[in-house]
Symmetry: none
């Protein structure tokens, strides 16, 4: 049975904590920062609170991140932009129909981003973009643009294979993007205080959106859309 001498135990704890330090610090700080940024927004989050939640002092935060803005960028990179290469690779290897591919993409986005704290970043950027132009630009380059490109690849594939109706993809991507980003935003804003019966169940929401979108995107049997013809011909 090991010694239970309290002093030894404390010493061991301290040592263990120390050893874990340098490597673990950035991760702990990024996790704390993500939580707080999402909870309170970028401007309203105090650096000291991030540090406290990560279990370190104010000074330590600035040992790892040169400024609050850099901390934010690191959070974005860690949680979002770092994943695009992985996703691009995944898409290269996808062999099903484009409809399935889109279904898969959307579900994957929800599992990895939308349903996690990372989706708070989207809300946060939408809320504070105008006050932090540098961050907004960064986000545009690191997230919006690559996300657009990724989605565009999926849609282009569907068009090329005759599965989707040809369209102006610059705007076409928003057919998918808008409902997803709206869901993320909703979840972190009005969704937190929905009236009874108004709560959105993400899975259901996504299912309805996806199937409608897919039908909307689908290659039309004929060149016109007879069912929806205008009244004033």
């Amino acid at each position: 049975m090991p010694s239970t001498c309290p002093i030894c135990e404390i010493a061991a704890n301290v040592r263990a904590k120390r050893e874990r330090r340098k490597d673990a610090r950035p991760g702990e700080l990024l996790a704390a920062a993500l939580e707080l940024f999402v909870e309170k927004g970028f401007a309203a989050t105090r650096a000291e609170e991030v540090a406290k939640r990560a279990g370190v002092s104010k000074g330590t935060l600035f040992l790892y991140f040169a400024s609050k803005e850099e901390l934010f960028k690191a959070v974005v990179r860690e949680n979002i932009s770092g994943r695009f290469t992985e996703w691009n690779a995944e898409f290269d290897n996808f062999h099903g129909s484009s409809a399935d591919m889109l279904r898969y993409s959307i579900r994957a986005w929800w599992e990895r981003i939308g349903s996690t704290k990372a989706s708070g970043i989207t809300k946060l950027m939408m809320s504070e973009a105008s006050n932090f132009p540098e961050l907004a630009t960064f986000y545009q380059h690191e997230v919006i643009q690559p996300g657009n490109d990724l989605l565009r690849r999926v849609l282009q594939r569907g068009i090329d294979r005759g599965e989707f109706e040809p369209m102006d993809l610059k705007y076409g991507v928003y057919i998918v993007l808008a409902p997803m980003l709206f869901l993320a935003m909703w979840k972190h804003s009005l969704g937190t205080c929905s009236a009874a019966g108004m709560e959105i169940d993400p899975d259901h929401y996504i299912t309805v959106q996806v199937e409608t979108i897919l039908f909307g995107l689908a290659k039309r049997p004929t060149s016109t859309t007879p069912v929806l013809k205008d009244k004033n011909p």
Copy 2:
């Protein structure tokens, strides 16, 4: 019979004027605050700037609103007017196809809300909901719920008339709502600092969305969706 005593009348005038002024001041402050809150968010808007834009001194602002938070609440309450009765009436008198009705609804929303300053309130509520839960609830009841109901009527009409595919309308409304609200948010946030070539033209955006949505909502010719059948049957 009203008193015609001239002195009383003068006094009444003076009182009226003073009361009108007293009432007008907050109006100017609320207008200025709306603009600034939308532009920069709650936290980043300085009380002094609101006062300056309203043409009064900083002290005056606090004469009418006990705090910046109270000002915010007043701004939101002030701008949630009940336009819904007017719209409900409009819809009662619509005689075209449901597709046209939806097109009309969306265009009307864009013209009357989306493209005007009123859309700023949407952005504001989405951004600040978590900091003002009581306001968010209020907004849910006064805006989100009625908006939902209105849209639900349009979709229900389409289903009833066999124009739209039957669906779970609780989620179905978001097929229309999500892209529109996303557009409003985008316009007030990242849209203000988009990279070259990434700017969204609202009219084009709406056209693409509407036509896709309509096709997606349309009554399926058969009960299945053959074109999009899954690979794994």
Copy 3:
């Protein structure tokens, strides 16, 4: 006999203080800043301490001066650069010999700058110039350059009138400038802790310097300086 009610007196004091405020504040702050900058240097002077010495709060300081650097610039303008126009005018009206003019200039400098706290600015700039390049540039433009020009006018006058030996004035000005600036520096640095018998009496110092300098500057009877001829002819 006036009421001596203590409450009334306090109220009166407060009112008096208030009334004196807006006009007096900048002056009081500049005076406090000059003292502290000279005592402790620019970097080591805390904004809050300047405010406290001026009898106001930290915030008030920044109401009148946008930053600590701007405060410093204002101090310099108030105490030094603002006087050059007056001095230029004085020199325009001087009618004596150029030797007398130089004597007068130096004495005037000592009385108005050198012997006052303003001379601390010189020391301070010499000490901290490299850490505050913007301030150094400002000082060069506002003080060094005009001071040089002023002195150059005096020497040029002497040369033009045949009183002083022709010389390269770019360096000639330092014959006068160097001993004076050295005196100012000394006074605020090592001069404050001189060993017994090492103290410099400014008046005596100036007298000795001036008379030697004047003799050194004087028009040589012949083109050479026979008395000091080199040993190696």
Copy 4:
């Protein structure tokens, strides 16, 4: 006779090496500190940068010097070596005219002190004297006083030999000292950020000063200074 036991020798070597290292460390730190203190002043120099320039860690610096203040004191003490005996000897052997002697002295000072890093100490002391009064006193005794005495000897020699006009030497020395020390200070402060056309070339500066000073110090042909007679006799 020294022990020749190989083991002892190895041990001795190791000990010697360790001791040498122990001794060398402070030297490297002092050198680095001198450079940085001169460049940026005491307050603006960061301990970490001193350590980095010395090639050690921040912790090591505090192993050798209890605080930044102690480091500063050590830097000044280290750099105040007694060169004065050497110079006194040199002067004993000088056989030229006193004018040449002064010329030589000044050029020698420039070459050995003024143009080298050692002049940084002068600047440092002038800048920080008031923050380190005890050091300033030390400097007075070790440097200023002996320097004064040395210069006094030169001037006294000139007077004794009838080459220089008799004068109060306590102040007379500053006729030479002030321009030289000013040059040293200027070089390390405002000189580093002079406006175009305002730069001082030390050689030119010294030449102009020396020749003017020499003329100013020179034995007056007659007891009065006719050329500069006041206008108001």
